[in-house]
Symmetry: C2
Subunit: 471 residues, 2 copies
């Protein structure tokens, strides 16, 4: 496969800025027929709320969604920042000079039929044309991209506009749709969702450079099947992870997975140990499953930085304390050894048969006030840096009462200028879902049932934080 | 801690039969005051729909929920199979002879205040009394138990009555409540939920022996912090796993977890490698997380036995195929090498740029019929033993249409006498939740987003099946 030019940093930054903040977009292959990809793209741009100019291009002209269609890019009435292309693959390279003539920063090639089906020659032709005309290419074989600060849904998938700090990048339409569904069902605020497809040109390092400088992006999550330019990724990842967490799911880790990847995006999945070392060196948090990728991205934008390694578990059920302790050790969290003085402080709050030390087991018969006192004390204690809470549903402290109590303690600490990572596990009847949602809406990651997920999420925070601290 | 007597197999079986199928239950420590544990137990027995006799016992007599309370066990008007005890710990041993006098098979000690708070002497006294009077003890320090075939909710927790084949056992109230909430939110049918608490007498092997013979139980899931009698567990587990899957979550796996366990249920967590070997030898499927324990139990009752090791992935998105392939290798599933003749068969159904082999990538532009043909062919092909489906949400095949199509193929195969394990991953927008529920209600395990969970669930089935086949 052709290697693409290495644009200088400044021109790359400018091209990416225009990709994500276009004043005008042309859709080559627009269609007036609902159900067609070229229709969905125009529809999503409009219904997503994009405020820039949209020029649908179709040789047969006509109208789509009240917009005049132009027979060619040339005939569109103004300058164009980005051209979305959804026409048969063989006709795509010819769009490049036309896009360049309209001053476009780049094209996004939705069309498939390139390297992923063995047609590397056509993909090379596209890359050569782009290089010649100084145009960047996203794709081919991509679902497009979203950028919520611009209400931009340049895709044939469903619109998504919940604003937030997570930028999600994938190399597969299937994973892209999972990203969308997961984001919507977990009410995850995102800045961008980008499908890189075959990534013949624009790739992860281009995006990392942009997201590093983008004030709307706090966390980056990437699904990749292979890296075209490992060195470029390492450089870009090292830079951004100093200030923003990056989570990566590398698909094709195993021999069967790598084989499947090569027939999917023609990716050279490569030696997994090389990827693993590269991720470690560049401060990337590696996820091994799709759920972890998405869950950690969501949580990383919620949690503040800790001030140190000392994690304390506070639980209403000894059994949860045991499972949370196992999970802490599994995921490399440091369970603080409770200093004697501090142990005495907590002992005041809990019944004599409760367990002090770490976990602090307040036992199941306690009213909300016991949770409140222990949690607030732990938040205010400088030796403790993060909290894992294991809630047990009881008559005396029902789920929503617990949630309100926990939030009261967190808010009181915040008013005293204290913010620490707090992650919650809730063991109880079905009402714990409402309690979890209440806490999530207030920025506290909360997991019904799955003790291990709470610990894994906090551990993801620690992995990225340690790198940013040079540890 | 005292060891308990080893009752002979026949008397143990009879005692367990009476525990789970009592004609009458007494509640020592019943209360007329809502919010008290002794009230909740009576309330749950009645509102859960238990049809046997309930005798509330309270020295001050009176009434609870329309039932006359008796001042003592002696004064209850009939024989008693099981006595639930919720009075202060120190008074519990004295209940034993009274229960024996009424012919009870055993007592369930809800009360805490025994070995878990260091009061081993009191627990030994309880055990000694039970041995002397030939009475079995569940607990102490337990939330009680459920047996849905009898509509029996002998617990202070919330009632649960969705009937099904999963028996769940835990050693922690917190985990017990997580079991309840997970079951309700996933609509999991259960036969029994049992809290063993400190398990001074009745333990996992007693339950395994009962569940092995219980036609209402198809799968057993156990959360444990330690084994009192490793040999007994091995024997009982070896027997039951020949015909019914057993999943175990051993808490206190790690050094910090083990330390927490010893202060929780006074469990000797023991060397984890010893447990691991024991589980392997006895055909137990080991889960490392609470979510896996519950999820696998749920799925194991849904999936039929495979006829062999050959797993085939059918997907609408190449990217899902890659992730599913990784997960298959991670979890020890055998991805069949597609024989040339069979490959040709599938090639007929999919576009030329789709990927045959395994995964079979039908690509995202295909109508429901393509899923249908590939899935039905795979179900009818004797060389293929199990299917993992990776669905991609597209305009041409929306989630519910896919779900109905898949079910049509599965039903058609079933009508031809063919049942194979089929597990589904759905990548798409939020509508995939409805599609997953549709499939789950029809007995097909379905996972939105998380590719790895679908593979892990199928792998749990294979692990238990291999043991039952002597592999």
């Amino acid at each position: 496969m052709a290697t693409t030019r290495q644009p200088d940093a400044a021109s790359n930054t400018e091209a990416m800025r225009r990709f994500f903040n276009p004043e005008s977009i042309a859709v080559v292959g627009a269609s007036a027929t609902p159900g067609r990809i070229g229709y969905s793209i125009v529809d999503n741009l409009l219904s997503g709320g994009y405020q820039g100019k949209v020029y649908p291009i179709n040789p047969s002209a006509g109208e789509v969604k009240g917009l005049k269609m132009y027979p060619s890019l040339q005939e569109a009435p103004g300058e164009v920042d980005v051209v979305i292309v959804a026409i048969p693959a063989r006709a795509v390279p010819a769009v490049v000079p036309q896009a360049a003539a309209r001053g476009a920063a780049g094209i996004v090639v939705i069309s498939s039929g390139f390297a992923e089906i063995g047609n590397t020659a056509l993909q090379e032709e596209l890359v050569a044309a782009a290089r010649k005309h100084n145009i960047r290419v996203v794709g081919p074989n991509t679902y497009g991209y979203y950028y919520t600060p611009m209400n931009l849904c340049a895709t044939f998938c469903t619109p998504y506009n919940r604003k937030g700090g997570v930028a999600l990048v994938s190399q597969s339409g299937g994973v892209g749709m999972a990203i969308l569904g997961y984001s919507r069902s977990h009410q995850m605020g995102v800045s961008a969702i980008v499908g890189l497809g075959n990534k013949c040109d624009v790739d992860e390092d281009d995006l990392l450079d942009y997201f590093r400088q983008d004030p709307n992006t706090k966390v980056v999550a990437i699904h990749m099947e292979g890296l075209r330019d490992g060195r470029g990724f390492l450089r870009a990842a090292r830079e951004i992870t100093k200030t923003k967490p990056v989570v990566v799911l590398k698909a094709g880790r195993t021999s069967r997975g790598a084989r499947a990847a090569s027939s999917h995006t023609a990716a050279l999945a490569g030696q997994d140990s090389v990827y693993d070392a590269a991720f470690r060196q560049s401060g990337v948090v590696r996820a091994l499953t799709l759920e972890d990728l998405l869950d950690w991205a969501r949580v990383l934008q919620m949690l503040p930085d800790p001030k140190g390694e000392n994690v304390v578990i506070i639980t209403g059920a000894g059994g949860l304390g045991v499972l949370l302790s196992d999970a802490c050790e599994d995921f490399g969290l440091h369970l603080m050894s409770m200093p004697p003085g501090l142990d005495e402080t907590f002992k005041q709050f809990i019944p004599p048969f409760g367990a002090s030390g770490n976990p602090i087991d307040i036992t199941g018969g306690e009213p909300p006030e016991t949770y409140y006192r222990c949690i607030l004390t732990a938040l205010k204690e400088p030796q403790i840096h993060s909290l894992l809470i294991g809630y047990w549903h009881t008559l005396i402290t029902p789920p929503m009462v617990f949630a309100e109590t926990l939030y009261r303690a967190v808010k009181e600490a915040e008013e005293a200028g204290i913010r620490k990572p707090v992650v919650v596990n809730l063991a109880g009847d079905i009402e714990v879902h409402d309690a979890a949602q209440y806490l999530e809406e207030r920025g506290i990651p909360s997991y019904p049932y799955a003790t291990e997920k709470a610990a894994a999420a906090l551990a993801a925070k620690y992995r990225s934080w340690r790198y940013s601290q040079g540890r």
